[in-house]
């Protein structure tokens, strides 16, 4: 059984996966696997791009999203026309001939991965490029999006071959319980970052201990400022409230009320040093 795996630590946001899907499916009719995708507006695989932080502590994340080819796929269960089926290799495909365009699957898909082609009056989504896997198996062992990926952030293959990755994968909509066949690592988590400097000498403070304390749980996260006076406290949970304490050689600074509803770039933080 096949799986997709996504290692976001090496996704550079080139959108080549999204473009591969369009190149394969726009203007090409692969019936009975898929009818043509509209030129624009549909993303059988689509990147979600997000800017995090504040100048000068800024990062951009890119997360490709697509059909999860669920083992317990609500779309299959709900389809009255029996147009959606699961293949032996695990891929879930909508039969464009049987689809009546009733939109039920569009409404029930918990991953928002199904699109409506109003011109053809059918529902459409990722087919895993099964027409290629079946039609030319010597040439094609992976879908187009995976073939286009320049950094191997996106991969496809036998579940057993990716067992280690899957064991470490992070939950992504998995609470829905549809037994997804796509696994992610490196999903964006919140950060708090800043640059600590001494305002009289106008020098960065190197080696200051920066500690975030969760005001509710008491959990702490700590890191030292680097040679640029920077600290990056990464991997924080959403929507927590922290108190930041910066300490060096008996001097300290406390910044309460830092919330992780968004990533926090705190900019340049002055801390007077005891003489």
């Amino acid at each position: 059984m096949k799986v997709f795996i996504v290692d976001l630590s090496v996704c550079n946001g080139c959108y080549c996966c999204q473009i591969a899907c369009k190149d394969e499916h726009v203007g090409n009719d692969w019936s009975p696997y898929a009818k043509p995708q509209p030129d624009t507006g549909q993303f059988w695989i689509g990147l979600t791009e997000k800017v995090h932080g504040h100048v000068p502590h800024v990062k951009v994340s890119y997360v490709p999203q697509m059909c999860h080819h669920c083992d317990d796929a609500p779309c299959i269960a709900d389809c009255k026309a029996e147009a959606i089926y699961k293949r032996a290799d695990g891929l879930v495909v909508i039969d464009p001939e049987k689809c009546t365009g009733c939109k039920l699957c569009f409404d029930t898909c918990p991953h928002n991965a199904i699109f409506l082609n109003e011109q053809l009056n059918i529902a459409q989504k990722c087919t895993g490029c099964s027409h290629l896997l079946d039609g030319d198996p010597e040439e094609w062992t992976v879908p187009r999006c995976v073939d286009n990926c320049p950094t191997e952030a996106l991969r496809f293959g036998e579940e057993a071959d990716f067992a280690d990755f899957i064991a470490e994968a992070e939950p992504f909509n998995s609470e829905i319980g549809t037994k997804s066949r796509i696994f992610y690592k490196g999903l964006p988590k919140k950060f708090v970052a800043g640059t600590v400097y001494e305002p009289t000498q106008k020098d960065v403070i190197i080696g200051a201990t920066c500690t975030l304390k969760d005001t509710e749980s008491g959990e702490t996260f700590s890191v030292k400022t680097n040679n640029f006076g920077d600290f990056w406290l990464k991997g924080l949970q959403d929507n927590r409230t922290y108190t930041l304490t910066i300490e060096k050689d008996g001097s300290s600074k406390v910044i309460p009320g830092i919330t992780t509803d968004i990533d926090r770039g705190l900019g340049d933080i002055p801390m007077a040093m005891a003489r």
Binding site: G13, C14, C16, A20, V55, P56, V60, H131, R144, N227
Partner: protein, 871 residues
């Protein structure tokens, strides 16, 4: 289920868009029923086993870096099918309706009046007639040939420049000389410090990738975006190299006004500097090193000249202004503590500096100053020593391939039909020449124009000390310009002060403009005759993917994928159609050789017989070079100079790094913009583009502009699939897809601008409309618009809707004695466009708003064809 047929055939292409006989970003193109069905990365193992090819490997901390066994094209390369089938393709030869070669020419209507279909026979007869008429009336130098720049990778049908072959054979022509548009500062500055280099860029640069990987502790990506410009040449290996640096713990610091696409994912530290103020930051670093003694004094003593003069200036002995971090901070916007931290980190750690052309560092006013200061910084830290280099990130310095021959720009063996088109891009080889930066001055001015150095890419440093005049003397057949033949032009959107270009193209002095291009874009709007060229998908050719930093060099035969679209013909054939009108000319140009003959000849120039038999190349369609067995012995960068500066002198007058240039001091004693040592230049008679200027009260933002992420200069603005990404276009409330203008929330809020608003970016030189993209990826004080969006005039010379930001760049050259261009670091203001203002423009320029438009692909040619484009 019955398997579907996925293709009829597969052909190979170089999907890079650099052109010039070379390429990369190789791809496989699948064709079915005469149509391109897919464009995909090339599998190098298609017809070769990996064991047949010797690949290179690099290692640091036990981690291996090696080339991938598949090419890594960028998104516009992989979406190129949309470019080939773009609604903007020129379908047939066209003539402007109110341009009559035998009557009224209505040059004032260029860029306004529409076109009508004519036949190839009519087009070639008109063009030949105009050539004869102009030759007779004014002489052959009255015809300007604009045929230079980047484009698709083809060799026989290289874009740009074929008209020059015909015009040369008819007597000669005036050549537009392409300036070093993406690396001005090094060309006009660095050459005087470290010698000729590769057009000013550090060279030799062999093996600097390996050496940096093995020895550097830090790489400064200074005005460099490795996730943008490399894509257009060879694809995304640069991205993998950056991830590798992270993996092995080499610190990556980005110094740029924007959190660019590389910084956004790779940076350990982003230092947002104000555009074109890097010189101040550099001077403060030198100040820190001088005062803290943290530089390589021994190297400076033995390898450089002029440190004392630089030190006098930096420490304030010359002008009473010490270039302290406090002084610099006020100019460059980087906090004092961060400047000091950077200086100390740079002084303590083995550091290389990386660029990849473009960016905010090297294309502003006086760009030779930051370029020269960079040479001094590297020199003060032992340039050429382990891990201390200047990079064009992967463009130079990858391992040497075995048996690399060449289709060089000028190789006497190569037939002129192949060589001259590319030669016109790199050499000022005609008697009468004009730097591309001065074209509009040459057209609009009645006075002769003088310039120092042509800016030609293959020109030697000495050329910068020669004075040229346009036009040349009448007895030498000098003449002003009266006709233009332009090949794949984009001057308006990619060069300086495009609005002025537009007006110059309307001059009545220019009696005829011929444009040839696959797409009806940019300068084509101002032509009188347009010839439909075709794309690389529609011709047979041969490509040598060996230049510009290919990780896995190869040669490929590129078999025609599809039949020509419409009535298009190859770049070469467009010119040959006109040549047929002159007795014997077609034979002289082609020498009776077929495409197959030329393919085989090019294989020969590559030293083909020593590499792969012609039969094998034909059978397999490609051949892969092995890495040279002894590649690791190539000395990295300036290593030999580093080890023995007396024996291995640089190509400067003293043979050393010239922090002070005696040659510049002697030749240009009064030059306050580019003196003998590099300085901070606040303003000059040419440029007043600093925040300290009174102009900044009206135009308080500095422009940051790079090569676009989703284009290669002007190429690929019409790919519907990249246009869907959030940073390629911003859809305005009117449905038009505007070029994004990035603004920091602080600046946006001050101006009442919200994401998605239509804004105008403007200064005295005109107005450019854009779509607001409010982001923390840009520091305050800056507006960011990439160059290269397609020109869409609301009012020619004044109001630009397509987002071509270079329409309002300064017209003046880099500095008095440097004919470079300015592409960033100048003053503008940004305001929200009110409905009232838009309505006024709509009322006053109804035809501009009535043109047919396609939000998905943008501009379309039928909008400019009579009866074809009205809504």
């Amino acid at each position: 289920m019955k398997p579907v047929k996925t293709k009829d055939k597969t052909v190979l292409r170089s999907l890079g868009l650099g052109g010039y006989f070379g390429g990369g970003a190789e791809g496989m193109v699948d064709v079915k029923n005469g149509k391109i069905v897919r464009v995909r990365p090339m599998r190098y193992g298609w017809k070769y086993k990996k064991e047949e090819v010797r690949q290179w490997k690099m290692e640091r901390n036990g981690k291996i870096l090696e080339p991938t066994w598949k090419s890594l094209p960028g998104p516009f390369s992989l979406g190129y099918k949309k470019r080939v089938y773009s609604p903007n393709r020129v379908p047939f030869p066209m003539k402007r309706v109110d341009w009559d070669p035998n009557g009224e020419r209505n040059t004032q209507n260029r860029g306004k009046s529409k076109f009508e279909r004519i036949s190839w026979d009519e087009a070639s007869a008109i063009i030949a007639g105009e050539i004869r008429r102009v030759h007779e009336k004014y002489g052959y130098n009255a015809i300007l040939m604009q045929g230079d720049g980047h484009g698709e990778c083809k060799t026989i049908n290289t874009p740009h420049g074929h008209p020059g072959v015909l015009l040369e054979y008819l007597g000669g022509f005036t050549l537009q000389v392409r300036n070093p548009d993406s690396w001005e500062g090094w060309y006009w500055g660095a050459k005087h410090v470290w010698g000729q280099g590769a057009q000013g860029i550090m060279y030799p640069a062999a093996n600097i990738v390996k050496d940096t990987v093995e020895h550097a502790e830090m790489v400064l990506f200074w005005g460099c975006d490795p996730e943008t410009t490399p894509w257009g040449f060879v694809g995304q290996f640069a991205s993998r190299l950056c991830y590798y640096l992270t993996e092995v713990g080499i610190q990556q610091v980005y110094i740029c006004p924007d959190c660019n696409y590389g910084a956004a994912i790779h940076a350990d530290k982003w230092i947002p500097v104000l555009p074109n103020t890097d010189a101040a930051l550099q001077l403060a670093i030198i100040y820190m090193w001088l005062t803290e003694g943290t530089y390589d004094k021994e190297y400076v003593a033995t390898h450089t000249v002029g440190m004392d003069k630089v030190a006098d200036y930096v420490l304030g002995k010359e002008d009473s202004i010490p270039k302290t971090p406090e002084w610099a901070s006020a100019k460059c916007g980087v906090p004092v503590w961060t400047i000091k931290a950077l200086a100390r980190e740079f002084g303590a750690k083995t550091t290389s500096i990386a660029h990849y052309f473009g960016g905010g560092f090297i294309r502003g006013p006086f760009s030779h100053e930051p370029a020269r200061l960079e040479c001094i910084l590297l020199g003060m830290q032992g340039l050429g020593g382990p891990g201390v280099h200047q990079h064009q990130w992967t463009y130079f310095g990858l391992p040497r391939a075995e048996g690399l021959g060449g289709t060089f720009f000028w190789n006497p063996e190569i037939e002129e039909r192949l060589a001259l088109p590319v030669y016109s891009s790199v050499a000022a080889w005609q008697e009468q020449v004009i730097p591309k930066t001065l074209i509009q001055n040459a057209i609009l001015s009645d006075e002769p124009i003088k310039f120092r150095g042509t800016g030609a890419q293959n020109a030697l440093t000495a050329d910068q000390f020669s004075e040229y005049t346009f036009p040349i003397a009448p007895e030498k057949k000098g003449s002003p310009i009266h006709m233009i033949w332009t090949d794949s032009p984009c001057r308006i959107t990619c060069w300086n002060f495009g609005h002025e270009t537009e007006l110059a193209l309307r001059s009545s002095k220019i009696e005829c403009i011929v444009a040839q291009h696959p797409w009806f874009e940019n300068d084509c709007l101002y032509a009188d005759i347009v010839l439909p060229a075709n794309t690389h998908m529609e011709v047979d050719d041969i490509v040598t993917n060996i230049r510009q930093g290919t990780m896995q060099p190869n040669i490929m035969l590129t078999e025609k994928a599809i039949e020509p679209i419409g009535e298009s013909k190859s770049d070469a054939q467009c010119v040959l159609e006109v040549a047929k009108q002159f007795p014997g000319m077609e034979e002289q140009m082609t020498e009776g050789k077929t495409t197959a003959d030329l393919q085989k000849a090019i294989w020969g120039y590559m030293g083909g017989e020593k590499l792969v038999s012609w039969e094998q190349l034909k059978e397999k369609q490609y051949w892969i070079y092995s890495t040279a067995e002894d590649w690791e012995n190539d000395p990295p960068g300036f290593r030999q100079f580093y080890l023995d500066p007396e024996k291995h002198k640089l190509n400067t007058p003293s043979g050393k790094l010239e922090f002070y240039s005696e040659a510049l001091a002697k030749a240009y004693p009064d030059d306050k913009e580019r003196g003998p040592i590099p300085k901070w230049v606040e303003k000059s008679h040419n440029h007043d583009e600093r925040l300290s200027s009174p102009r900044a009260r009206i135009y308080p933002l500095l422009i940051m502009s790079n090569h676009g992420r989703w284009r290669v200069h002007a190429q690929c603005d019409d790919i519907t699939w990249t246009r869907e990404t959030p940073t390629m276009k911003v859809t305005g409330p009117d449905g038009y897809k505007y070029e994004p203008c990035w603004l920091h929330p602080f600046e946006a809020e001050k101006r009442g601008i919200k994401s998605g608003d239509i804004v105008k970016v403007f200064n005295e030189r005109g107005i450019v409309l854009a779509g607001a993209y409010i982001t923390e990826r840009l520091r305050p004080g800056v507006a960011y618009v990439d160059h290269g969006a397609r020109h869409d005039p609301i009012k020619t010379g004044e109001i630009e809707r397509g987002g071509a930001i270079n329409t309002i760049t300064p017209g003046a050259i880099t500095s008095e004695n440097c004919v470079g261009q300015i592409a960033g670091g100048y003053l503008v203001e940004v305001q929200r466009v009110s409905g009232e203002e838009m309505d006024t423009w709509r009322r006053e320029n109804p035809e501009a708003f009535a043109r047919k438009y396609d939000a998905a692909a943008g501009l379309r040619v039928d909008a400019w064809i009579v009866d074809g484009g009205d809504k």
